[in-house]
């Protein structure tokens, strides 16, 4: 479980996160939703420790990592798998080398064991036969899958995904969503997904927090989202025609 309490973050005079408090549960898809510029990515980067909060705490199963020394923070990060918005695969490495990268650093496995594990992870995300290709030779959807395979390579306890559907067609988006949802349940990870894609929210949003201008205005799940009385969330939902139709029919 990841617990955030009274989190504040600002850049100069601009307050980006204002008093964020929320809990992210294990084994379900937790989502941070909101319009562009609402502070989603800053919240996500603060959670994983790439940005330091001005005040407030982020605890992973009761352990506050914000105050940890660099070496311990580094060690803790081995338990976090991250899928970046643009996949962030290493250009200098092939697909299988990308997946093996964390194993090279943090395991004493033999090369054959690492290859076996990397192939398992790639099979798990349905990437077969592209092991020797470089990231530049893959489609956006394939890159996301390889990114997920790399993120789960060391069996992380936490999976963090920043806009996993951005730049993907609707069909591939759904496949990626289902993949993340399936892996979250299978491995019992605490998954946080940052998105503004209404289809994803309706597909896999088990625990959703709506962020607006740096404040967490609403929290619920995909079933209760249409019953919201939050006007800003209402506007956000109605921007999507499918969701608007569902809302109007209710």
């Amino acid at each position: 479980m990841i617990k955030i309490e009274h989190l504040y973050k600002s850049f100069g005079e601009v307050k980006v996160l204002k008093d964020i408090s929320i809990e992210y549960r294990q084994g379900v898809c937790n989502m941070i939703i909101g319009a562009s510029g609402s502070g989603k990515t800053v919240l996500l980067k603060t959670i994983i420790g790439l940005m330091e909060p001005d005040s407030g705490t982020v605890t992973f199963n009761g352990q506050d990592i914000s105050g940890l020394p660099y070496a311990e923070k580094k060690r803790f990060r081995q338990h976090i798998g991250v899928l970046f918005q643009n996949s962030a695969l290493f250009d200098f490495a092939t697909v299988i080398e990308n997946v093996m990268f964390p194993m090279d650093f943090f395991t004493d496995w033999s090369r054959s064991e690492k290859i076996k594990r990397a192939k398992y992870c790639l099979e798990r995300v349905n990437v077969v036969g592209s092991e020797k290709k470089y990231p530049g030779e893959l489609s956006g959807g394939m890159q996301k899958r390889v990114g997920i395979a790399r993120a789960i390579a060391l069996n992380p306890k936490y999976l963090i995904c920043d806009e996993p559907n951005s730049g993907l067609d609707p069909e591939t988006s759904i496949l990626i969503d289902q993949l993340i949802h399936g892996l979250t349940r299978e491995f019992g990870m605490t998954t946080i997904i940052n998105t503004h894609d209404m289809n994803s929210i309706l597909e896999i949003g088990d625990n959703i927090g709506f962020l607006h201008q740096g404040r967490m205005l609403w929290q619920g799940d995909r079933h209760s989202i249409f019953d919201t009385e939050c006007s800003e969330l209402h506007k956000f939902i109605c921007a999507n025609s499918l969701a608007r139709n569902i809302m109007e029919s209710r």
């Binding site: 790439l50 990060r77 976090i80 991250v82 970046f84 643009n86 962030a88 290493f90 943090f106």
Partner: protein
């Protein structure tokens, strides 16, 4: 502006502190070391060789054309070409050329990795990204660049000899005896030391600029340009300081 200078200098040294941490795994470090040595040093051999050959030839012609006094021994042409090459050209001029080639390579590579979140991805895996990416570059360039000085020196002298052999500027025997005249090994050490120092500056400055690049593709271009300009200015400044300290 002065405040910005001090902030940047402080950040640069803090960056070096992170870079010079013990590598996570020595096996991976050595693998990266040789990859970087190939990418940065071995790939520069042709460029350095071509430039040195031509500059050696040009130096012979220029020196000979400025020594029309019949009382000056023609052997001095060889002597002066050798001294010019080893004291200044093979270290400082080659370093300035490498600042463009190696500096832009390092800054643009790291800058691209920064803006595409690859550095954050390494950091999120619990790996010291600065040490993993930068340390092999800095050490391979610093340790191996003196070999480029030696290569440049020999090829510069060879370029001069080719000109002497193919023209009638001075007799080849005079050129060769000039090359051997009053040779000081200390100058070779001085030149190699300068080159290692300059290479350290080039690699760390361009790595620093690339590592903290921001602002998309334009930002990467800006950081690459800045790293070359700063490296070139510092090379010339430290050339003066090191020369004063080591030769006088």
């Amino acid at each position: 502006m002065l405040k910005k200078f001090f902030i940047e200098t402080g950040r640069y040294f803090l960056f070096l502190r992170i870079v010079f941490k013990k590598p996570e795994k020595w096996k991976i470090f050595w693998k990266q070391f040789f990859i970087e040595a190939d990418k940065l040093i071995v790939s520069s051999v042709v460029l350095v060789a071509v430039i040195s050959l031509f500059i050696g030839g040009v130096l012979v012609i220029q020196t000979a054309s400025n020594m029309s006094n019949p009382f000056l021994d023609r052997m001095l042409v060889g002597y002066m070409v050798r001294e010019s090459l080893i004291l200044e050209f093979c270290s400082t001029m080659v370093a300035l050329i490498l600042a463009g080639k190696i500096g832009s390579n390092i800054a643009s590579e790291l800058g691209s990795m920064r803006i595409s979140d690859q550095i954050d991805a390494i950091e999120m895996m619990g790996v010291n990204s600065a040490s993993f990416l930068v340390l092999p570059k800095v050490l391979s360039v610093t340790v191996l660049s003196p070999l480029l000085v030696l290569l440049s020196f020999y090829l510069g002298l060879l370029g001069g000899w080719i000109v002497v052999e193919t023209t009638s500027i001075i007799p080849a025997a005079k050129y060769l005896s000039g090359l051997k005249y009053s040779f000081s090994e200390y100058y070779v050490f001085y030149s190699c030391f300068k080159m290692a120092f300059f290479s350290f500056m080039i690699s760390t400055i361009s790595a620093y600029k690339g590592f903290y690049a921001a602002g998309g593709a334009l930002g990467v271009g800006r950081s690459s340009t800045k790293s070359i300009v700063i490296s070139c200015i510092l090379i010339l400044m430290f050339d003066l300081i090191i020369t004063q300290l080591m030769l006088y």
